[in-house]
Amino acid sequence: MSLELDIRMTLGAGRRSFTLAAALASRGRSTVLFGPSGSGKTVTLRAVAGLMKPSAGRIVLDGETLFDAGLGVDLPARERGVGYVFQDYALFPHLNVAENVGFGLGRGLFGRVGAASKRRVLELLDLAGLTELAQARPGRLSGGQRQRVALMRALARKPRVLLLDEPFAALDPLLRQRMRREVRAICQAAGAPTVLITHDPDDVLEFGGTVALYETGAVRQVLEFPDGPEGGRAARDMLLAAHFGAYAESTLAPCPGGYSQSCETTQP
């Protein structure tokens, strides 16, 4: 996967307005947008998904221009081939688990699901260990089960990239550990590259890859680590160091894990 974006947008007006100016480029199986709440990570993700329209700039995914203000290109969300796992999972409360997972496979105005798609839904449910809950409504599920349903629903359409918005924030700490590993394993099995948003360095541990550091509406820095847990450890150590105010030093010093890294600084 390759994702290139350079966008500007202003939300709200007057004193409470917020301006996002984010630029980053990433190739590889994992990208992490890391930064405190309100630094513009979610807005970036929504812009990639086509749920928000930047005022300027461009977004290119795998060589296809999804958005370009200059050229007047703005693909609607449904045509972007991007999977999105929402922070609150956004499961359809009136549909059962199987219908939720199969939603993206529906065709036509009423979203009819064909026989082949139904088989795919069963496969996905099996992969996530949700087979017994196929007929249950989301209201009856636990946090971890809801997350799996949201994940499978997004993966059902075989997206080019899976966008994960703070996927572990709503889970209790014990479950969080397990779901990190599980989500990554499922994404890997499905062959879907991920773009993950988080403010928790522990989330980076499992994913690694390209890490973009967000601060007050801008990407301060883009760091490259190997994908997966091996790169994740180095990335987490660095982010933890940053938490303790040693941010500038640690980016200059060699990584504790000894991994080579290319640190490119984007304009503030």
Binding site: G50, A77, R78, E79, H94, F103, G108, G111, A154
Partner: protein, 229 residues
């Protein structure tokens, strides 16, 4: 006495059937138009949204006779649409039960529209966005997500619309008149019975109307709420 009662019932059957026909047709019309308008008004991007909203609420505020007058101007024999309807389809709405249904549906429309707008605005936008990222076009988002989730509010509005359509008087009188057997609904029949001093008939019609309204609200409420849930 039972013979008199049977007589009254036989006499009331015609306006009763007519009332049901008019009210159900009117509710169906108001429901379809109200859902569409309510959905459009709940969209943030709609230009002149609040002005359109007040226009849609107007039938609720205006006296029914004023609405009847407007309808005559538009759908009357010399009205813009009325003339066109008569020339192309040879149809006239004046002094027909269809005219009565039109009047009742215009009067009942804001009740559906208002509740539908509120219900659609109450649907979590995150769910609609989720459907969009899953490849659903706006039509599918509406039919599979927004409408089912707003359904309860719409049903409540439709019930009110039905109740309003059953009792419609003023606008109906203006466009459809008070022709026994053709456009005389229960509310008009009650009025005429009282005017003519037929107190027994009036009392009977009043009780009958009340019973029918209660039965209708109970059964249709159950029926509608059972669907899509």
């Amino acid at each position: 006495m039972p013979v008199a009662l049977l007589d009254l019932l036989a006499n009331a059957a015609i306006p009763l059937k007519l009332t049901l026909k008019v009210a159900l047709t009117a509710t169906a019309g108001a429901c379809l138009a109200g859902i569409g308008a309510g959905y459009a008004l709940s969209r943030r991007g709609l230009p002149g949204r609040e002005l359109l909203d007040s226009l849609c609420t107007l039938p609720l505020v205006l006296p029914p006779t004023v609405i009847g007058y407007y309808l005559l101007v538009v759908f009357g024999r010399k009205g813009v649409l009325g003339q066109w309807l008569e020339e192309t389809f040879d149809v006239s709405l004046v002094f027909t039960w269809q005219g009565a249904a039109l009047a009742a549906s215009v009067v009942a429309f804001p009740l559906v529209c208002k509740s539908a707008r509120t219900a659609f605005e109450g649907v979590d936008q995150g769910l609609e966005n989720a459907a969009r990222t899953l490849g659903a076009g706006e039509g599918r988002v509406f039919l599979r997500v927004s409408l089912p989730l707003a359904w309860r509010g719409i049903v409540a509005g439709t019930m009110l619309a039905l109740a309003r359509a059953m009792g419609e008087f003023g606008a109906t009188l203006m466009i459809a008149g008070n022709l026994p057997g053709r456009t005389q609904t229960l509310s008009l029949a009650v009025y005429e019975a009282v005017q003519a001093g037929r107190d027994d008939e009036a009392a009977f019609l009043v009780v009958l109307t009340s019973c029918v309204c209660v039965a209708l609200l109970l059964s249709s409420g159950k029926l509608l709420n059972r669907q899509i849930r």
